[in-house]
Subunit: 545 residues, 2 copies
């Protein structure tokens, strides 16, 4: 759930995006009273746009494709060319639209904003305008979605592969170890998941050096922002509808986004497969969640179709019961589908109660989204294993599909590859070290890569199994307008495209296998030892060029 | 803009409803951490429901109808009979729905919440369920709407009537005096308003004693809550759609409410009458407005049809220009329609700048909503003058229409009627003293009526002209669930029905004259000297019985 760029911890967790270490913008409210309305939107320019230093990339890797195929130049519009008065109007309208249409979050500065709906709301942080994105990369990312779905499903069925690939990680990472224990128990009792539901999001960046769309990670649990992401696409279409002529932009170039409807539909169809009209969908949530409105959009869309309930892991432990036939009941209510919006991070399991709860759900006949095997299939270590030569071939038959997947794989290595270790010590600016542990803000860059690798070599423990190495990606940095706390900032930013996908099958058939909309996340870029490091992120959409 | 019940100042201003003197509910957030979700909605019962003391009413008045026609008993559902678990579910869903659908306001506890959209939002205070209301009273109120529209239009054309009726008020009330000065200037230059637009809201209460629907006041300027009021009707329909079976309530019994669309449509049609494709609608707003989202709903609906801009009175003074042909421009932009959401209260005119602005707009050819004459026609003094015998007949021809209006008039008297003064001194509990000055919280009740009248008699000044006397209305007090700051309270409450109406005409024809939706406001009731006094108010809808 991290990326190859450092982000603050909160951003890297899929459900808690609206935190940033910076609080500078907030003080503006106090120190800078504005006269209101047409002049109350502050536009702050914190960086000047300047050409990025061109860094030559040449990684030696046995299994990394450096296919620098020629692609046409990305056509972008220039945000710096927009009349400041027009920016103010756009910003004001964006704030109003967001407030009226539920594009909101809990304000991190206000108590109870993560506990009680309707209290302490603030507009979600958003980009003022969609980010330019070349259409053929967009199509490529969409095409990959059903192939990744199929891959996750096949990998999930190979219990031995998951256990073996994660065996070294297990020794040094407690969280992965607990997940593997549950997985082992399921293997022991030969538990079969006949109805399998995946709601994934595969994240990509466009690498400026190689001109390739490269996968950052694949989220198989709690893929967030299906709700708010759709709204950002709508917001940008609304703005272009009214101001597109002045901006020279066409709203039809923003792809339609129905992620929330497709996810709700997949949950409803899974409920249907469970085939018990009295059973409900249960959404497993955190005890505090400032991104609750994203979840509420999905739940509310689902509510129009089927009943659901929200429960925390601790509540499920207290109220849940596993009947002899494997039926899960919570508070006396039969559960057809368990949809996890919690349980992906070690902090979600503060006591044994939460682990008991997770185990009980896994043992049940309820459809789990995700099952423990789907969850493990989305770990960084498995991502790295799948990038090894001839591994994809174990799971997929179609050679074209395999080639498509491989083309989007960045260089990924475990720390038992001594050639790579040596190269990373010599040229640390070309690598990112990622801990298996969930949560971003833990990625290691630049000289820290060298130092960490040297320390691990010296220690000679198995701690190296807790990390993978990833090729460092160099995306385009563009000037962008970002809206946060009612203020419009102009800053240099990089973007990450997430493509949602839904997969549902029963014993006989695949029922759903589709690309399900998208999310752009745009992040403030700061220079850092030969590359950029991403900070505060906003929700965005794409403008096809 | 007050009612016959005392409300806090903020509630009586049509645009600033979300303030209350009480801050008790907020401290609950801090003192009472809750475990979340299904248990995070606190239901507090601050009063027990008990039968109201039955007060016999017998007012002697030459022009007051005490027509106690028999009406069928109001059928109500009993909120106290609803299962507490169900109340919790309803409350949680209501909070989520409000947040996702823009049923929000600026939080009075958060800085900038009245200045910058999208910052410091909280769900609007709402009733959890619609208030029971007998269908035939509802139809009566709807039927009255076009008649009141016609009346206001006719009264506005009689400059001498307005000036004469308000001549004594002018001497003691500075605000009315300034409005009358502008009106006089328009009479002097024989200014004609050929295109006349009214967006009104007539407020009523059901009097339990007389079984009559009685008018509280008629708002001809800044009639608020057309936007949020529609959403409350939708919220209640949504809740009844999902829980109606359990509650024994049918969502179809909540009347449809399209106030915001009808108001936007009327503004657009007025724009059309002005017949200048380059001109825009201008919304005159206050410098700080926590009820901004109500206005944004109207503006946004209008935006889909025609361009508009928001300006404060001071901005209009600074940027406005009156061209020789009477065209009004603001910031170089020709204004077709001026829609006032400010300018109704003395505090809106802190300097001469705002008065210059108001005068300039009145002198222009722009369509004013309202014109100065429409504004004056909605004052309490005019309401009282119209209630005198044979006055309605000066303005309306249709006897049935006159009878319908008169039936909804409460007893209204000026303080030059010595019989009434004597009766009010003897039985003050049957009267309310209302100052002409705008803003509620200034109404006088009970023993204070006696004391004020005795003091005025003793002083012998003209200060008595600053007041009118109104029959005190005794509405039904019902147990109700009110939602505020994320908390659901159970309390005893009274309700006031507002019926919106739109009127548009040009030199030749009436283009629009219609009932335009409704708003129920439900207020916490406290006992006070033989009656009830209304406090904190929430937005509500109606359930026809």
């Amino acid at each position: 759930m991290g990326s190859s760029y450092s982000t603050s911890l909160a951003f890297a967790l899929p459900n808690a995006p609206f935190c940033s270490l910076s609080t500078a913008t907030h003080s503006l409210h106090k120190s800078n009273p504005r006269s209101l309305l047409n002049s109350n939107i502050k536009i702050s320019q914190t960086h000047n746009s300047k050409p990025e230093k061109n860094i030559s990339v040449s990684l030696k890797s046995s299994n990394m494709s450096l296919n620098c195929s020629k692609v046409e130049q990305v056509k972008t519009y220039d945000p710096l060319g927009i009349d400041p008065d027009l920016v103010q109007k756009l910003a004001y309208d964006a704030l109003v639209w967001s407030s009226l249409h539920g594009l909101v979050a809990g304000d991190r500065n206000i108590q109870w904003s993560g506990k009680i709906p309707g209290v302490g709301m603030v507009h979600a942080p958003v980009a003022l305008l969609p980010m330019s994105f070349p259409e053929h990369y967009w199509r490529q990312a969409c095409e990959l979605a059903p192939i990744f779905n199929e891959l996750v499903d096949r990998v999930s069925l190979d219990g031995k592969f998951l256990q073996d690939a994660l065996s070294r990680t297990k020794k040094v990472d407690d969280f992965t170890s607990r997940l593997l224990d549950i997985h082992s128990k399921m293997l022991e009792i030969n538990k079969k998941e006949e109805i399998r539901l995946g709601l994934h999001r595969s994240d990509y960046m466009l690498d400026e050096q190689t001109k390739l769309l490269l996968q950052i990670e694949l989220n198989t649990i709690s893929s967030s922002f299906a709700g708010l992401g759709c709204l950002v696409s709508e917001l940008h279409r609304f703005l272009l509808k009214h101001y597109g002529d002045k901006l020279g932009l066409n709203p039809a170039r923003i792809p339609g986004n129905t992620a929330v409807i497709q996810f709700a539909d997949a949950l409803a169809k899974a409920w249907n497969e469970y085939n018990n009209p009295r059973a409900v969908v249960m959404v497993v949530v955190q005890t505090e969640e400032r991104n609750m409105y994203d979840q509420h959009w999905l739940s509310s869309t689902l509510k129009e179709i089927y009943p659901f309930q929200l429960k925390t892991l601790a509540e499920i432990d207290a109220e849940g019961e596993l009947l002899p036939d494997g039926t899960l009941t919570v508070g006396g209510q039969v559960i057809a589908v368990v949809y996890f919006r919690a349980g992906y991070a070690p902090t979600d399991y503060p006591s044994e109660s939460e682990w008991r709860s997770r185990l009980m759900m896994e043992q049940s006949t309820a459809v789990k989204c995700p099952s423990i095997a789907y969850h493990l299939a989305g770990t960084k270590k498995i991502q790295q294993e799948l990038a090894k030569p001839n591994v994809l071939e174990r799971f997929l038959d179609n050679k074209e599909d395999i080639a498509k997947l491989r083309k989007c794989f960045a260089g990924l290595w475990s720390l038992d590859d001594s050639n790579i270790i040596q190269d990373a010590i010599e040229r640390p600016e070309l690598y990112v070290m990622k801990p298996q542990r969930e949560g971003g803000g833990n990625n290691i860059y630049g000289d820290d890569v060298r130092e960490t690798l040297l320390r691990l070599q010296k220690d000679g423990t198995e701690e190296d199994a807790a990390y993978i190495l990833m090729q460092r990606i160099f995306p385009t940095v563009s000037p962008t307008f970002l809206m946060r706390d009612g203020i419009c900032h102009q800053d240099r930013a990089i973007s990450e495209l997430g493509v949602y996908s839904a997969y549902l099958r029963n014993k006989e058939n695949v029922i759903i296998n589709e690309n399900s909309g998208y999310l752009m996340r745009t992040k403030v870029a700061s220079s850092n030892e030969g590359g950029v490091v991403a900070g505060f992120a906003v929700l965005d959409s794409i403008y096809l060029t």
